[in-house]
């Protein structure tokens, strides 16, 4: 037998070498004897979201066509920002040193329109302030329970780390005889994903149609300056009066369990940025059948 033949005969065994048998880790059991899985369990979507499908099937296309701005050629480089005083100058070192020409935040250009950055709804924030929480912080329990019933969100609910649940809003600055920093004032909750679309559906089908003399969300007058930080951040906000509280089906079933009715602010936070972001955000929101009127 030649050396080559021996090598050829030996080759297959090298390829077929068996891997060592993997040890199966034993599951840790909790005090009731139930196994604790190795992985973090996270609850994802449990059903197809109706309004989410509406967004992907219809709204996204329409919004691309509506918000598309044709640009011929690449954009010019952004203006270089010059500060009022030379930062190297020791005389001006500690002075307030704003950029010449004022803040450019409200004049920030929107990113070029592509099919990848079509405006979408990122989250809905519900926020309620309860004045009587100043007298006793127990009065916050009502709004907290209401927001929990409305949103179904709990802290790290469904194993999601980002889920903050209902948060308590505290005073930021001191207002004479009224608010001090750190004083609990209200509650807020963020809704994302399927729950966000579910809330939006409830709002447009159960609450807004039953409001008395509700023409729609008031648009700001045409003369409003939208080149402000709020105007370019793509957030649409409005308030619901306390009368609307009982129209939510989640609240309606046991309205008498709440000490009183609460109004709330609803913020639709979209992905629109730059000049005209608020108009684009309204176009998106109106696609979910939220009416707007000019006063």
């Amino acid at each position: 037998m030649s050396a080559a033949a021996v090598r050829a005969a030996a080759a297959p065994t090298r390829g077929l070498r068996l891997r060592p048998v993997r040890k199966i880790r034993k599951l840790v059991h909790d005090n009731r004897g139930l196994p604790i899985p190795h992985v973090d369990i996270v609850v994802r979507d449990t059903h197809l979201s109706r309004l989410g499908e509406h967004y992907y099937n219809t709204l996204a296309d329409d919004l691309l066509y509506l918000t598309y701005k044709h640009e011929s050629g690449p954009r010019p480089p952004p203006r270089s920002i010059r500060l009022m005083y030379d930062p190297e100058d020791p005389y001006a070192k500690l002075r307030h040193n704003p950029p010449v020409g004022g803040s450019q935040v409200g004049r920030k250009l929107a990113p070029p329109t592509t099919s990848e950055n079509v405006i979408c709804l990122e989250r809905i924030q519900l926020h309620t302030m309860s004045k009587d929480a100043l007298a006793s912080r127990q009065n916050l329990l009502g709004p907290i329970m209401a927001l929990r019933a409305l949103s179904g969100e709990t802290e790290q609910g469904g194993g999601r780390r980002g889920s903050t649940g209902v948060q308590i809003v505290r005073g930021v600055k001191s207002v004479g005889g009224w608010v001090r920093p750190g004083l609990p004032l209200g509650a807020k909750v963020d809704l994302r994903g399927a729950k966000m679309y579910e809330f939006l559906g409830t709002l447009t089908e159960f609450v807004l149609p039953r409001l008395r003399e509700f023409p729609g969300l008031l648009l700001p007058p045409a003369s409003t300056n939208l080149q402000t930080p709020a105007g370019v951040s793509g957030v649409v906000s409005f308030g619901l009066p306390p009368e609307a509280f009982g129209f939510f089906p989640q609240i309606e079933v046991n309205l008498d369990a709440y000490p009183k009715t609460y109004g709330m602010h609803i913020h639709f936070i979209t992905s629109a940025r730059g000049v005209g972001a608020q108009e684009r955000a309204r176009q998106l929101i109106s696609g979910f059948q939220i009416p707007f009127v000019r006063r």
Partner: protein, 266 residues
């Protein structure tokens, strides 16, 4: 040699003839039903729903229901059914020690039965009898309006299309096109002032006349139908509301290659 050509600067050329401009409207009926999830999606959602059911926070019965109320019994009964479906008999609300375990459907009957609402069927009559003119057909899909027009040799299916008249903007032409061809009996909304697509028709033979338009440009506009129905004018022999695949079966190959990317797959 004419005087005008004597004085014309030698580098200026005669203006090339302009193409014919046409506008067409892609009139869309968006889905009116949420689509049926695929079998994979159904399995995924059922699995996630079971996890959620197993891990959710305890339900605050005493916050939502007065003890012993009819509403509570109804809720417990339904919850028991749902838990039995998710985990099999004997778990969760189906456990013999769970709240309201003794309540049966017969107990609830003494309070009077409330009629269960049955949802409308997801398949419309027009799906069964193949009526392509109905706006209720294929509720889960995007439908597009296609019209049939007689040309000199054959009947051609295409989107409603018209030539742009002088000094008219493209989107104005699209709106006029829709009213003229499809009648006034519809509420429609043209989504944007900008065209969503372009289809170029080149003449089949090489042109001998230098002044003739070299091609026809058709600009497409997307529109939605909100209410009403098409009442076609005399130029139209037939119309149909079709899905993307059904459109591919009716239009010619060249036209299909030009329009297929403007339509929604689903």
């Amino acid at each position: 040699m004419s005087t005008s050509s004597l004085f014309r600067a030698p580098w200026r050329k005669v203006a090339a003839p302009r193409p014919n401009l046409h506008t067409a409207v892609i009139l869309n009926r968006s889905p009116i039903l949420t689509r049926t999830p695929t079998s994979f999606e159904r399995a995924y959602y059922a699995y996630q729903a079971r996890i959620q059911r197993a891990l959710h926070n305890p339900f605050p019965h005493d916050f939502y229901f007065k003890p012993g109320s009819l509403l509570e019994s109804k809720f417990n009964l339904k919850e028991r059914k749902r838990d039995r479906k998710a985990f099999g008999p004997g778990f969760g609300a189906d456990h013999p020690l769970a709240p309201g375990a003794g309540v049966t459907a017969q107990n609830l009957n003494k309070f009077g039965r409330d009629d269960d609402e049955t949802p409308a069927p997801r398949i419309h009559a027009s799906d069964v009898n193949g009526d392509v003119k109905s706006l209720d057909r294929k509720g889960q899909r995007n439908l597009y309006l296609l019209i049939q027009q007689k040309t000199d040799d054959a009947a051609v299916w295409k989107f409603p299309e018209t030539a742009v008249v002088d000094n008219e903007l493209l989107h104005e032409s699209a709106a006029r096109d829709l009213r003229a061809i499809c009648g006034e009996a519809m509420d429609t909304w043209i989504v944007s002032h900008k065209p969503v697509g372009l289809y170029e028709i080149h003449p089949s033979t090489t042109l001998t006349d230098a002044a003739a338009p070299p091609k026809t440009c058709v600009f497409f506009f997307k529109a939605h139908i909100m209410a009403g129905q098409v009442r076609p004018g005399e130029s139209v022999t037939d119309f149909a509301w079709l899905t993307k695949r059904e459109i591919s079966e009716r239009v010619n190959h060249q036209y299909w290659d030009g329009i297929k990317d403007m339509l929604s797959d689903f």
